[in-house]
């Protein structure tokens, strides 16, 4: 299976401090599902920022969609970013826009005609269980509802890669399961999914999901071949 992401000896340092990520090397196969775990401060969010092109690494090589993302000209970044859906840990919803408008943003940014926006947005609202909160603005939504809007916004453009940072941190277990099911459905449609989470209960919910674990900025299992719960040799299958 082709690699959609490739990191080689990637290091990330903010300012003149210590490296937040050191010698990170891994590949992500197209259409696979990955969990990224690690303690707080291990570097999960930093690694995700490199993945969704919010940061450039201090060193190393990153290939995304078969192209060198480190030296990618700035003007080509929007095109790449439109192929990546992101669920931010702090949601990053625009507080003055309704749930509907927040979810519609990626489509509008991509230039989708207004007549083609409503149906997918309403479908996404229904999918995340917020059909009755169409006009609600983020400050009036609960944490869980905001998270669901953020997830709907990330997946509405059918991205090739979905990057989610603690996407179930603010929802109850039932909703967490529903959202994970949503990610799984998207994954089955071909999207490569990377979910950073602390929630070990989630890890066993996606069959064939790979697990990457960060510790103090270093990737412990760079092949991403570990599964949770661990599978016996011979039971592994390519994701």
């Amino acid at each position: 299976m082709a690699n959609i992401v490739q990191f080689e000896n990637v290091g990330l340092r903010y300012g003149s401090g210590q490296e937040t990520l050191s010698d990170v090397s891994f590949t992500l196969s197209t259409g696979s599902f990955y969990f990224l775990t690690g303690a707080s401060g291990a570097g999960k969010t930093s690694l995700l920022k490199l993945l969704y092109l919010s940061q450039r690494p201090s060193r190393g090589l990153i290939r995304l969609f078969g192209e060198d993302a480190v030296t990618l000209p700035r003007k080509r970044l929007p095109g790449f970013r439109r192929r990546i859906g992101v669920v931010f840990q702090d949601f990053r919803l625009l507080p003055h826009l309704s749930a509907y408008d927040n979810i519609a943003l990626p489509l509008r940014v991509s230039g989708v005609p207004e007549s083609d926006v409503e149906a997918p947005v309403r479908e996404m609202l229904a999918w995340v269980g917020l059909s009755d909160r169409v006009e609600a603005k983020p400050p009036t939504l609960s944490g869980g509802e905001q998270q669901r809007v953020a997830i709907a916004r990330a997946v509405i453009g059918r991205p090739e890669i979905l990057v989610a940072d603690e996407p179930t941190g603010n929802v109850d277990p039932d909703m967490a399961e529903r959202l994970l099911h949503l990610f799984d459905s998207l994954n089955r449609l071909g999207t490569t999914v990377v979910v950073a989470t602390h929630d070990f209960h989630l890890l066993g919910r996606i069959p064939n999901a790979h697990m990457m674990r960060l510790d103090k900025g270093r990737l412990l299992d760079p092949t991403g071949s570990l599964r949770f719960p661990p599978v016996k040799p011979g039971q592994e299958s390519d994701a």
């Binding site: 969704y52 092109l53 919010s54 940061q55 450039r56 700035r74 003007k75 970044l77 929007p78 095109g79 790449f80 970013r81 439109r82 992101v86 931010f88 990053r92 625009l94 507080p95 003055h96 826009l97 408008d101 519609a104 943003l105 990626p106 509008r108 940014v109 991509s110 207004e114 926006v117 916004r153």
Partner: protein, 297 residues
């Protein structure tokens, strides 16, 4: 590179307009008020200077400065005859003794009317075309028959006034340019402040794949509209003020100040100023936003 101002209703909602104090609208109203006043002054003095030039061009006064009455009268008659024969001369008029006495009254009082006072004879001359060559030819012709004659061009008398008006016109043009520069500077600052206050929104838009031009367009539109609305307001007040001042000047009955009038073309130019400034503001905003965005990933 296109500058698209028309954005969809959804695009217009992207920047939180409720946060803005709309101070830009009022600043632009004041800027345009001052700019239109300066431009009106420039156009008015340009018009007055042009009227003055038109009125003075080709106008001469011939003085026969001869103390002996008989000789003065003979030379005056000869000069009048010579002038009337010249095709370049359209009008010849001898200023009579009573008019001269009136002209001298401020300096000599009633003595100016004394018939024994040797006052030079004066002839007003209008030329069809007041070129230097024509004036020289007329001067030669007059001096040939009236050696005591002095020929004065009205332009020469009024040149300080004309120079002053030209200076005021250039000063006004300079003020308009300065106001345009100040407007650009205000827009640059406003755009940068806007970027700062909408940093979170811009970051999200970038992460979702917005191009810099898409983001810049949001600011361009907003600043262009603020400038246009404020500009129209300021221009309307300024034009009202200019019209009022025009009425006051007309009531003074002064030929010179009466020349400070605006033609319909001038009013049109003043009316176009807010549109010009809105376009200028649009480009300044685009320049500022694209410049600032290029420094973020």
């Amino acid at each position: 590179m296109s500058v698209r101002l028309i954005t969809s209703a959804a695009d217009r909602r992207l920047l939180d307009e409720s946060r803005g104090t709309r101070a830009m609208t009022w600043i632009m109203a004041i800027m345009l008020f001052l700019t239109v006043l300066a431009a009106a002054l420039g156009l008015g003095t340009l018009s007055a200077a042009s009227l003055l030039d038109h009125q003075l061009a080709g106008r001469l006064t011939v003085q026969i400065v001869e103390p002996v009455d008989r000789a003065r009268e003979a030379q005056t008659a000869a000069a009048l005859a010579a002038l009337r024969q010249m095709p370049q001369v359209t009008k010849v008029h001898q200023v009579d003794r009573a008019q001269l006495a009136e002209l001298l009254r401020p300096w000599l009082g009633a003595d100016g009317a004394d018939p024994d006072l040797p006052v030079p004879a004066m002839i007003d001359v209008d030329l069809g075309v007041g070129t230097d060559a024509t004036v020289a030819r007329v001067t030669r012709a007059v001096l040939a028959v009236a050696p005591a004659a002095r020929v004065d061009r009205h332009e020469a008398w009024m040149s300080p006034v004309s120079n002053f008006m030209n200076m005021v016109t250039w000063l006004s043009a300079g003020l308009v340019v300065l106001m345009a520069a100040a407007t650009s500077a205000v827009v640059l600052l406003a755009a940068r402040a806007g970027l700062e206050s909408h940093r979170d929104t811009i970051e999200v838009l970038h992460m979702l794949g917005s191009t810099d031009v898409q983001v810049a367009r949001l600011f361009q539109r907003r600043i262009a509209l603020d400038t246009l609305f404020g500009g129209i307001l300021g221009t309307a007040f300024a034009m009202g003020t200019v019209a009022l001042v025009g009425l006051q000047l007309a009531a003074l009955g002064s030929d010179l100040l009466g020349g400070l009038t605006l033609s319909s073309r001038d009013w049109l130019l003043l009316g176009l100023l807010p549109i010009s400034f809105a376009l200028l503001a649009t480009w300044a905003a685009r320049f500022a936003v694209l410049g600032a965005l290029s420094r973020i990933l």
